[in-house]
């Protein structure tokens, strides 16, 4: 069990960690989701002891380890850049941490060999890092982090610098690769909601140096604690706009009205209303103007302007819309998220038993 108590860190007035309180449990795979600069790396560095803290404590199984230097913490880490020991070949790169723990050369190499095979580099053990591709280099880094079988394993956006195909491939293999480390606390930072949900037993959403929310991926997706979490938990992100609930319907700017239609609406009043791009459909009675459309091949994201605000629409396949095209779109009250004007969730779509 690894615990952070009110951990703070700021550099030159810029807040990196703002009152972090969290307990990590052994045997869980945590994904830390947040934009660049949200504090994901800082959080890991604070746990590793790679960064001085302005305040707060880090505890391992109840023992305060805040002052314990990094080389005594016996944690493992993989950086987003591919960092290996340039002067050592693959085998000795992976054996290095074991050697430092006092494991004999032959034994260290034998164990290193197992993990090199696990990450699929068995044929390349005598290469230097410079002779490997990016993906192979990151596998070496991964094997070196895993070989220690450390109780805490940190992965700081390990796949972000790989090209798309390799990333997908390695992500698929990931659960198998970390299998032997499953008793450890695993932290995996990412900016991609999909990756966070795929890999994590639990997602920690960070924003501006704070933990906004944490929980199981499905819970976090279906009931985001506030609008920022909702925005971070989807790609493309949720759209939001102001509206008023009264007389069993939702009223939007421009005199638009969406019927409650069986949805239990929150108490009458003004709300911040959210709708996920996948819940917006073509065909409906809302007139929208296209500002941009992004085609990824299998999906199209269309940016729309309506009287009450901007909206994203996600549709399957390629649908070409030129800027300034007029479209009629619609969405159902059942799919709406209601947040208070401060951003806290008031009511989420009822998806019980739907998954």
């Amino acid at each position: 069990m690894l615990e952070m108590r009110n951990v703070n860190r700021a550099v030159d007035g810029e807040v990196h960690l703002d009152g972090i309180d969290f307990t990590f449990e052994a045997g869980k795979f945590y994904t830390i989701l947040g934009r660049t600069g949200a504090g994901k790396t800082s959080l890991m560095r604070a746990l590793m002891g790679l960064m001085p803290l302005d305040g707060g404590q880090v505890l391992l199984d109840g023992t305060d380890i805040t002052a314990v230097p990094v080389w005594e913490r016996k944690m493992a880490m993989v950086y987003q850049q591919f960092i290996n020991y340039p002067h050592l070949d693959v085998l000795d790169n992976v054996a290095f941490p074991l050697r430092r723990q006092g494991v004999g050369k032959a034994e260290a190499r034998r164990r290193a060999r197992e993990f090199i095979d696990l990450v699929g580099l068995g044929d390349l053990i005598d290469r230097r890092p410079a002779q490997l591709s990016g993906g192979q280099q990151q596998r070496v880094a991964l094997a070196r982090a895993l070989v220690k079988e450390a109780r805490t394993l940190m992965l700081d956006e390990p796949l972000v610098n790989l090209d798309y195909k390799l990333r997908e491939q390695l992500r698929e293999q990931f659960p198998k690769i970390v299998e032997r480390n499953r008793d450890s606390i695993i932290l995996y930072a990412t900016t991609e909601p999909r990756e966070a949900m795929q890999l994590g037993d639990e997602i920690i959403v960070m924003h501006q140096g704070r933990i906004l929310d944490a929980g199981r991926p499905d819970e976090m997706f279906l009931r985001p604690r506030n609008i920022t979490v909702a925005e971070l938990m989807g790609e493309p992100p949720i759209s939001s706009f102001r509206g008023e609930v009264s007389e069993g319907a939702v009223h939007l700017a421009g005199g638009l009205r969406i019927e409650g239609a069986g949805r239990t609406l929150p108490a009458p009043g003004e709300y911040l209303i959210g709708i996920r791009p996948e819940d917006v459909q073509l065909g409906g009675d809302l007139a929208a103007r296209v500002t941009m459309s992004e085609i990824s091949g299998s999906e199209t994201v269309t940016h729309l302007i309506l009287p009450f605000g901007e909206l994203l629409m996600l549709s399957q396949g390629v649908s070409v819309h030129e800027p300034d095209d007029r479209l009629n779109i619609g969405f159902a009250a059942a799919d709406l998220f209601f947040f208070s004007l401060d951003g806290d969730l008031v009511s989420a779509p009822d998806r019980e038993g739907q998954d």
């Binding site: 990094v70 850049q81 591919f82 960092i83 340039p86 002067h87 220690k148």
Partner: protein, 281 residues
């Protein structure tokens, strides 16, 4: 068009090389001449234009009555230059690592100021340093000794070592140090086990600079010694008496640059490997 560019390229290279190589060839041919051949105008080709003589080379190893003995100055120069370079590289590398990785602060003095302090020692003209060095060595009783010269040369070479190594360490990602510490090394272990083995190209460059500066220095070797200890550059100059023995001088010059040329060839081959590639992408 391609051939044209190629021709231009090789022509330029040829011009430049001849500019560099000619003095060597000239010295080489002169070293095999005698007084007769020297005074009879410019000649280049032995046997055809002049009768070669080994007088110049032989004089280097004489007992001092007909020339000068090169062996003692050579050994002295080697001892002073190599010791001073080793000490300067060792201290300079440690200092540079400290300055590139840790933050120091004494009042308004920070890392950059300390770095500048090191480098600023090379800004001063040598003559400014000569008198203080002379007085210091005199007080220490080290004037005209190999140890005194080593001490002074360490002071002169240290800025070069610090300069080169700070730049080199600056290009090694800090994450590499961190990684070593994550993997169980203390900071000093990270330095010796990981950073140092990856700094060999930098050490070689710094070492080469130190050797060249130390080996070629005349000024301090001249001002801080009298009769007991003589270094190569001073010995060469002392050849120059009422009649300049150009043949001895040329032979002497060639034999004193020989080790540097050799080192340059070895180092060039080594440096082109670029062994730091792949530390980070």
């Amino acid at each position: 068009m391609r051939t044209f560019y190629l021709a231009i390229k090789y022509l330029a290279l040829l011009l430049w090389s001849s500019f560099i190589v000619f003095p060597f060839l000239w010295a080489l041919s002169t070293s095999f001449k005698d007084a007769n051949a020297i005074t009879s105008g410019a000649t280049y080709i032995p046997w055809l234009q002049f009768e070669p003589s080994t007088q110049g080379w032989a004089s280097l190893f004489s007992d001092g009555s007909t020339g000068i003995n090169i062996v003692d100055p050579y050994i002295n120069s080697a001892i002073v230059t190599i010791s001073a370079s080793l000490i300067a590289i060792t201290l300079g590398t440690l200092a540079a690592y400290g300055l590139s990785r840790f933050e120091f602060r004494a009042g308004f003095i920070k890392n950059n100021d300390i770095t500048f302090f090191f480098i600023s020692q090379r800004i001063m003209p040598p003559i400014v340093l000569a008198i203080p060095f002379f007085l210091m060595l005199k007080t220490l009783g080290l004037l005209d000794t190999v140890y005194g010269l080593i001490l002074v040369y360490v002071a002169l070479l240290l800025p070069i070592a610090v300069w080169v190594m700070i730049d080199f360490f600056g290009n090694i990602p800090r994450e590499l140090d961190e990684l070593a510490m994550i993997d169980g090394c203390r900071p000093i272990g990270a330095f010796f086990r990981v950073i140092l083995p990856n700094s060999i190209p930098g050490l070689v460059v710094a070492g080469m600079f130190c050797l060249i500066f130390g080996w070629n220095d005349f000024f301090f070797a001249f001002t801080l010694t009298f009769t007991k200890v003589q270094l190569l550059p001073v010995a060469i100059v002392s050849l120059n008496s009422s009649v300049t023995p150009w043949w001895s001088l040329s032979a002497f010059a060639l034999i004193s640059v020989a080790p540097l040329v050799l080192i340059a060839f070895l180092v060039e081959n080594f440096l082109s490997k670029g062994s730091l590639a792949g530390a980070i992408r």
